[in-house]
């Protein structure tokens, strides 16, 4: 269960307009059918996560119930109802990484940041997720921080890697 952080929703007018514009474009592109997932992806791209207020905008624009939006948003792993950290850490727990010891790397990150998977540090700096295979099994075990990829990571190296993002 992700730690619920009470960050007040502070979406801007610009964000809302951008979302509405993109939703209108998606509607035209999809011929009106099957666009819910693309709509949520667009919204998460704009806001970083999908708070209730954003889900409500989507429901209104697409003419569906909030429950339906919520149902889809909670089904897929890509969508988050809570904010993510400035630096999103992913430790691959795919088979290849796992057999090469990524579980220990994952645990090390938890210990250092005092959070669990799916959670975010109180200062919103780091969030951690266990990821599925990201497809570079030759580098196992793999850890990612935003777009940076660290391969063949050992638990001892974790502290040093995190330090680069702390300042």
């Amino acid at each position: 269960m992700a730690k619920k952080i009470d960050v007040p929703f502070n979406g801007t007018k610009e964000q809302e307009e951008r979302l509405k514009k993109e939703l209108a474009e998606l509607k035209a592109e999809h011929g009106g059918q099957g666009l819910m997932i693309a709509a949520l992806q667009a919204a998460q791209e704009i806001y970083g996560y999908l708070p209730e207020a954003v889900q409500q905008i989507i429901a209104d624009e697409l003419g569906v119930s909030l429950a339906e939006v919520y149902g889809v948003a909670t089904f897929y792993a890509q969508f988050s109802l809570y904010p993510k950290g400035q630096y999103k850490i992913g430790v691959c727990l795919g088979t290849a990484c796992y057999v090469k010891g990524s579980g220990d790397v994952y645990k090390k990150v938890c210990d250092i940041l005092k959070i669990e998977g799916g959670q975010c540090t109180d200062d919103l700096k780091f969030s951690l997720d266990a990821t599925r295979c990201i497809g570079c099994c030759g580098l196992a075990p793999v850890m990612t921080i935003n777009d940076d990829v660290y391969g063949k990571v050992t638990p001892e190296e974790v502290e040093g890697i995190l330090a680069k993002y702390r300042s």
């Binding site: 997932i37 889809v72 089904f75 792993a77 088979t95």
Partner: protein
């Protein structure tokens, strides 16, 4: 004409290793030297040998440079490109013959036994240029189909070739197309399953990244065969490079009139759109995938009606996997007999495997069906690193099972793998050595399915969770022998009572390890011992008195204060205080700490 071609791998593995920067540095240096009319730099798809990435090949010499760094670029340009002296220190050792000359790639152990059909253009062409695909016979098959063949001819060729679905279950592709063709309907759809979710499998991604047009062309052929005019590729959002190259490829195909209205002036219309998955393993199941394209929670629905009758948006639909499609254009061009000449009687052609885990040559390999596991693991894969003993290979991901060492000579095809309790799956092949605990592996897969079960069927939603808890009892050392029997019973219950492939196959990792490695389960239960030394609760760290120099390093680092002893005298671990974190073993410089 260029005097030299430099091919830099742009697959995900090498890109993670910074190959994009290497590519840019090469282009920049070449431009600076004024060689851009003589030397051509291209970014290609995956070469397959991901363990040695980033990879580049320089032609005409065929110099295969591995583990290249950005800092190496200047040396490669100065020495190789300008002076014509190959940078031997960067060469992949296997490509250097005894006489010091460069061997052809196809003569190296890794490539020798491979036969590249689905991967034929990966690592050869620039996937972002349609002209390069066309130069390699691209879209010729589509032209042939539209101008010389009837839809039934196409299906007959595919049926005769013996092509079976490469996504896991191995359903005959021609038969699937025939069903969809026979379905009456004004609107039909062609879909591509690129929601590659098995942990450890990345062949579909590599094909999309390295040869996206092959998939587009094949989907157009399929559309013609069944009478569809719209297609969807459902691809994981986690594959950004694949999505980008697919988008570029679709745009280019439209510009060339190979997608859209009146293709080749034959009156045939077909267009293609990408739908991004949002991270749900169950969406690899065909009915769930279609529900997801429709924009709903990706839950599977009962079959029949089969998608060929009532699929996407309620219309007749075919859904094939990326690798299946990648075979199609060549079957059309080279004929059903050519394809059927490869492989075994019931499994024709080749199969791509993603080799991973405890193996030297991690990467992508494509082998004719019927190749043995031994050939893949030892001849191509180079065996387990660090002289460790091979224990088992896992195929089929969370739906598959483990193949133990004594069955390593089994020729790989769909039916043989099922017979030994595993399955082809999409082609992930994870190698495990003596340091891997089979109960722990089964537990790992169950944790995955517990997470990914969509929740629709009780047997799967609750059953996998209970099964996982039983496995935890085993690894914690609190299980009884009756629990093992109960586990087995529960496995069959889940299989029989789940709606879709996810639940029906989820217990396979447990069943196959229980079957082949029951002694390991029993060791956990009866002797409270993990033979591989993985399960923490059953582990005991000990200090070998003879090896301990009394340096106190372990005692100073032990977070639990469990280690005592005087300076320069052997230390002792108090098992009651030890939390089994393993720090002492990591810190000891004399190898005195062992797992008992």
């Amino acid at each position: 004409m260029f005097r030299s071609h430099i091919l830099v791998c742009g697959g995900t593995g090498c890109t993670s290793g910074n190959s994009r920067k290497i590519f840019e540095a090469l282009v920049e240096r070449i431009r600076k030297e004024g060689l851009d009319k003589e030397v051509h730099v291209t970014q290609t798809g995956c070469f397959g040998l991901c363990a040695l990435g980033p990879i580049m090949i320089v032609y005409p010499e065929g110099a295969f440079y591995s583990q290249v760094k950005v800092e190496d670029v200047d040396e490669i340009i100065d020495e190789h490109i300008i002076k014509g002296r190959i940078v031997t220190r960067l060469l992949y050792k296997e490509t250097v013959g005894d006489d010091g000359n460069i061997k052809a790639l196809n003569d190296t152990n890794f490539y020798k036994k491979q036969h590249r059909v689905a991967l034929r253009n990966c690592g050869v062409i620039n996937p972002e240029k349609i002209e390069e695909y066309i130069a390699y016979d691209g879209y010729e098959a589509l032209g042939k189909v539209l101008t010389e063949m009837t839809p039934q001819d196409v299906i007959d060729v595919i049926s005769k070739s013996g092509l079976r679905g490469r996504g896991g279950a191995g359903f005959p592709t021609g038969r699937k197309w025939q069903f969809a063709k026979n379905s009456v309907g004004e609107k039909k759809y062609v879909c591509c399953n690129a929601d590659e979710g098995d942990p450890g499998a990345f062949m579909d991604r590599s094909i999309l990244e390295g040869d996206p047009h092959a998939v587009i062309e094949a989907m157009a052929i399929a559309a013609y065969a069944i009478g569809a005019d719209q297609g969807y590729i459902y691809v994981r959002a986690e594959y950004p490079i694949a999505v980008k190259r697919l988008s570029i490829a679709i745009k280019q195909a439209r510009e060339y009139g190979l997608l859209g209205k009146d293709i080749f002036g034959t009156g045939f219309n077909f267009d293609l759109d990408i739908r991004l998955g949002a991270g749900a393993f169950v969406c690899g199941e065909e009915t769930a995938l279609m529900t997801s394209i429709e924009g709903h929670r990706g839950e599977p629905r009962p079959r029949p009606p089969f998608p060929a009758v009532k699929g996407l948006f309620g219309k007749p639909t075919i859904l094939n996997n990326v690798e299946t499609y990648a075979n199609v254009p060549q079957i059309i061009l080279k004929g059903a007999d050519w394809f059927a000449s490869m492989g075994t009687e019931k499994s024709r052609g080749t199969k791509v495997f993603a080799l991973g885990g405890k193996i030297h040559n991690t990467g992508l390999v494509e082998i004719p069906m019927g190749t043995t596991m031994r050939e893949i693991i030892y001849d191509i894969g180079g065996g387990c690193p660090n002289g460790k003993k091979f224990k088992a290979a896992q195929t089929g991901g969370p739906s598959g099972g483990c193949i133990p060492a004594h069955l390593i000579d089994t020729p790989i095809d769909y039916d043989n793998l099922i017979a030994i309790g595993s399955m082809m799956g999409s082609g992930g092949l994870i190698v495990m050595d003596e340091d891997n605990c089979m109960v722990d592996i089964a537990k790992f897969f169950l944790e995955f399915t517990v997470d990914e079960s969509c929740g629709k069927c009780t047997a799967c939603r609750i059953g996998t969770k209970r099964l996982y808890e039983m496995l935890c009892k085993v690894t914690d050392g609190t299980a009884t022998m009756e629990d093992l029997d109960k586990m087995e019973e529960l496995c069959y219950y889940i299989k029989e009572n789940s709606l879709c492939g996810l639940g029906q196959t989820a217990p396979n990792p447990v069943l196959s390890t229980l079957h082949y490695f029951r002694d390991e389960y029993e060791a956990h239960v009866r002797d409270k011992r993990c033979p591989a030394g993985v399960c923490k609760k059953l582990l005991r760290y000990q200090i070998v008195a003879d090896k301990c120099k009394g340096c106190t390093l372990c005692a100073r680092n032990c977070p639990a204060g469990a280690i005592t002893g005087k300076v320069k005298e052997p230390h002792v671990i108090d098992p009651d205080k030890c939390i089994k974190c393993g720090v002492c073993m990591e810190k000891c410089r004399f190898g005195a700490v062992i797992k008992a």
